[in-house]
């Protein structure tokens, strides 16, 4: 800005109005900016202020003596009033000043967030672990259940076997090996009263049959063979097997037949035979 411009600015009268407090907010900021930039304007302002102060001094009116004490007392009262300090704090933020957020608070939030995050990770890990354990327990329970079922089955089966063995109406017949298979043998339990025929695989000594063939139990009734059903024999089978019922039998025989059984026994393939 040229010297003439500064002079024109001074002569515009804005500085006087500024000192008298008779300017808008924008004008006020403008004057303050100009004064900060140009020492001549600042000096001019100073002069205006000084002369107006002198004018006020020249027109001073001494207030009454007791007023001084009154005012001092009110200041002391105000000093003791907490509200003053509150008012002061409220007036603190000036236009254009962005108040910094409290860094301490931010740190606290940071730590809180980190703690929450760690807690979350730990929780998720614990949850996964717990889920795995539950899974293992489930598997264990399932296996225990099936085992329990097997044991229950076995027990009921053994009960059944014991029932048969204790049943007086059952008669045990041991079928002896024939010429074809001299070492073979098979226990047959027969109850004419209950029309039940059981074979005891635990006490059997039969060669294992192949896929195409099965053993067939026959009852000889009055010299005629009656089929009592087919069964398989292998080294692992140890249970008692109930065959078809019949009221009376003179003898029992087992032949090796094609799978599913034959209507009449193949006499050549007779394995064991026993008279009742």
């Amino acid at each position: 800005m040229r010297v003439e411009d500064i002079k024109a600015y001074i002569e515009s009268g804005i500085l006087e109005l500024y000192v008298l407090g008779d300017v808008s907010h924008e004008e006020k900021l403008e004057v303050e900016a100009m004064a900060a930039k140009h020492p001549a304007i600042k000096a001019e302002l100073e002069e205006i202020e000084k002369s107006l102060q002198s004018y006020a001094d020249a027109n001073a009116v001494e207030p009454a003596e007791n007023l001084r004490d009154k005012i001092l007392n009110s200041l002391v009262t105000n000093l003791a009033d907490d509200r003053i300090f509150n008012t002061k704090e409220e007036e603190k933020p000036e236009a254009g000043v962005v108040e910094m957020s409290n860094p301490r608070q931010v740190t606290v939030y940071k730590y809180a967030f980190a703690a929450c995050f760690v807690l979350l990770i730990v929780s998720v890990a614990a949850l996964i672990n717990a889920y795995r354990q539950i899974d293992q327990s489930d598997t264990l329970i399932a296996s225990l259940q099936s085992q329990n079922q097997r044991i229950a089955n076995t027990v009921s089966f053994k009960d059944h076997e014991l029932e048969i063995l204790h049943d007086a109406s059952f008669r045990m017949v041991k079928l002896q090996g024939t010429k074809k298979s001299p070492s073979s043998s098979l226990m047959v339990a027969f109850s004419p009263a209950k029309k039940k025929v059981m074979i005891d695989m635990a006490d059997a000594n039969m060669p294992a049959n192949d896929k195409d063939h099965q053993y067939q139990l026959w009852a000889l009734v009055g010299g005629k063979p009656v089929s009592l059903g087919v069964f398989d024999a292998d080294t692992t089978s140890k249970d008692m097997k109930e065959m078809e019922s019949i009221a009376s039998a003179d003898a029992f025989a087992v032949t090796l037949e094609k799978r599913g059984g034959s209507p009449t026994p193949t006499m050549d393939e007779m394995m064991v035979l026993g008279k009742f």
């Binding site: 515009s12 006087e16 004018y55 001094d57 007023l67 009110s74």
Partner: protein, 152 residues
């Protein structure tokens, strides 16, 4: 130390002495409480204080209490009351130094006093005196220039 000068300004805006004393008290309380917002870079302390005093005085004049009080004035007294309110010629006890008054041209002095001592804005002063705004500004400046010459 500033109390007499401030009281001089207040007394000229608020004519009633008791009210002026109240305003002076309010002024010191406000100066005391908002001292944190005063900045020495922006001007002299007295300028800041006198602006507070003037604003509080004008607030008082415009306040409901004060207006109601005025409404209660007797009708016969109104003429003198209005004269008192609007006058720019001081009461004898408020008169400043004689040669100072003489050194100011009347048209300059009236504007300066309206704005400085009566709390008028320069726009209001232009209305009151029926003078263009530009003239008001010029006269105001000239008045202060004369003051400067006188005090230096």
């Amino acid at each position: 130390m500033y109390s007499a000068s401030l009281f001089g300004v207040i007394s000229r805006i608020v004519i009633d002495t008791a009210t002026a004393e109240d305003v002076l008290q309010d002024t010191f309380v406000k100066i005391w409480n908002s001292f944190g917002s005063y900045s020495a870079e922006k001007g002299r302390l007295f300028t800041w204080m006198v602006n507070i005093a003037r604003n509080l005085s004008i607030d008082k004049l415009r306040s409901k209490d004060f207006k109601n009080q005025n409404k209660n004035q007797e009708l016969e007294n109104n003429v003198t009351f209005i004269d008192e309110q609007r006058n720019t010629v001081y009461k004898p006890e408020l008169l400043g130094i004689k040669d100072l008054v003489e050194s100011l041209k009347p048209e300059h002095k009236s504007i300066l006093d309206l704005v400085y001592f009566k709390g008028y804005t320069h726009v209001e002063a232009a209305d009151e005196l029926g003078v263009p705004l530009g003239t008001i500004k010029t006269r105001l400046r000239m008045a202060i220039v004369q003051l400067r010459k006188y005090f230096n």
